[in-house]
Amino acid sequence: MKAHTLLYHLQEALKGFRHGGVLSMATITTVAISLTILGGFLLFQANINNWVNHLENQLEISFYLKDSALEPEIRRLMDKLENDRRVRDFKVISREQALLDLGRELGEDSALLEGLDTNPLPDSVQIQLKPIDDFRSFRKEYSKFEAIDGSSSGQDWVQSLMQLIGLSRSSGLAMLLLLGLANLIIIGNAIRLTVFARRQEIEIMRLVGASNWFIRAPFLIEGVIQGLLGALMATAILAIAYGLMHDRLIMIFPNLELITYSAELIQLYLRLVFLGIALGFLGSLLSLRRFLV
């Protein structure tokens, strides 16, 4: 495409945009609303993912060792843990250390422990796991060791939760596709009105021998501008709303793992803007189809 033609297309697109007036505004608003809903969903999902990652990284299990456990047996257990890829880190906690830790946890009530003649606590191995799919089978596998008496099972709920979240991730993808399609249809329809308003011009272009791409160009540029402005509006709405909600939620639930890291948010917003541009382009392309050749 020649430079003066590109310049002409840009001028035409801006002119169409200005002449569009209310119609252009309606399209941008439609894009903004649809993308706000989509972006809100993306933010929700990103936060869920963030939370899951956080939980996954906190996976821990403790195995209690039998008092009667023999040295070679314990060594075998240590070797296996050392070479197990699922294990991030582990440490052996002696019964003495365990008693001290318990005393510290009990705080003022630690006086209770003074009544004990002997230390009732066993030696144990505290294991930090990498994110794994099957927490239960890991536990079962190690329970076979003679040296192991039992395990803390306090985090069984994490397993169920992770399965639930796996489900929500796959359904989230389906939801995302559905929302994306709905957006394309809504935006495509809004742009179709703009195209329809200028069908006479398109017809004349066609009849005087304009190539299909020549006819499309200003509309595609216009669609991209509309998509961009709509996406920027949606991003502004989401950024403000999320900022407000984030601060309130953190105040009420201090333990909630919300995304605060701004680079992550910026990436999400950039993706939304790109999506707006792509939808504007695609919407224009699709709505022009029946007016060409």
Binding site: M1, K2, H4, T5, Y8, H19, Q200, E201, E203, I204, M205, R206, L207, V208, G209, A210, S211, N212, F214, V293
Partner: protein, 242 residues
């Protein structure tokens, strides 16, 4: 230049617009396409610039079968054919100069070329003083001339005009016809669809007479005698268009 072999056109609603048209128009000819409204004149023209495709038969423009043209080649065919529409098809929000320049923009002519050729064609058609006016500010005759200017600015090999004098008084009609003859004298093949018998008979050019979608007469120095059933239709259509 324009050849049709057994061309028929039926529309999806069942209406038959053209039956077995065979014709041969040489380069540089001037042809009147006559017949009452509904005879198929407009359809025949739309087939030539491939706004429609025939249901059967084949059409050759400058030796090329235009049905076989690829999507990307169609615009190039249209650039070699100027069309003056019955309803002008001018863009109301653009000036006369912009409307004419539109046809040059499309072929990606350079800005200098656009301004020079637009100016020159508007001069030829006596529209220089109306350059900055909008179509709404022009008379029917002037709009007609803008439409002719736009059709000619690309220097097409063929000029198709559909009822170019349909909305004009006899004096203006003659003026437009003189413009078309002038263009033809420079080597452009010109086809004029009309049901203005007076005009056709005065100029004594080749006449193709269409009736109910068939060519009923093809005379080299022909006249147009309106048949009784033609006349009623012709009058009727005049009432509709005025």
């Amino acid at each position: 230049m324009i050849q049709m072999f057994d061309v028929s056109k039926a529309f999806p609603n069942g209406a038959h617009a053209l039956h077995n048209i065979n014709l041969h128009i040489e380069k540089g000819e001037f042809v009147f396409l006559v017949g009452p409204s509904g005879a198929g004149k407009t359809t025949l023209m739309r087939l030539i610039f491939r706004d429609e495709v025939p249901t059967s038969g084949s059409i050759l423009i400058d030796g090329r079968n235009i049905e076989r043209l690829s999507m990307t080649a169609i615009p190039f065919l249209r650039r070699s054919i100027g069309v003056v529409f019955q309803d002008f098809k001018l863009l109301p929000d653009r000036t006369v100069a912009e409307n004419v320049a539109f046809a040059l923009r499309v072929v990606e002519a350079s800005p200098d070329e656009i301004s020079n050729r637009t100016r020159s064609i508007l001069e030829t058609l006596g529209l220089t003083h109306k350059m900055s006016n909008y179509p709404g500010q022009l008379s029917a005759g002037e709009q007609q001339r803008v439409c002719i200017a736009r059709a000619l600015v690309n220097d097409p090999a063929i000029l198709l005009t559909d009822e170019p004098t349909g909305n004009l008084d006899p004096e203006l009609s003659l003026e437009i016809m003189n413009v078309l003859l002038e263009i033809n004298s420079r080597g452009t093949t010109v086809m004029v669809a009309t049901h203005d018998a007076q005009l056709v008979n005065r100029l004594q050019m080749r006449v193709l007479h269409l009736s109910n979608g068939s060519i009923v007469k093809d005379a080299l120095r022909g006249t147009y005698e309106i048949e009784p059933n033609d006349e009623s239709l012709a009058n009727e259509s005049e009432i509709i268009t005025t």
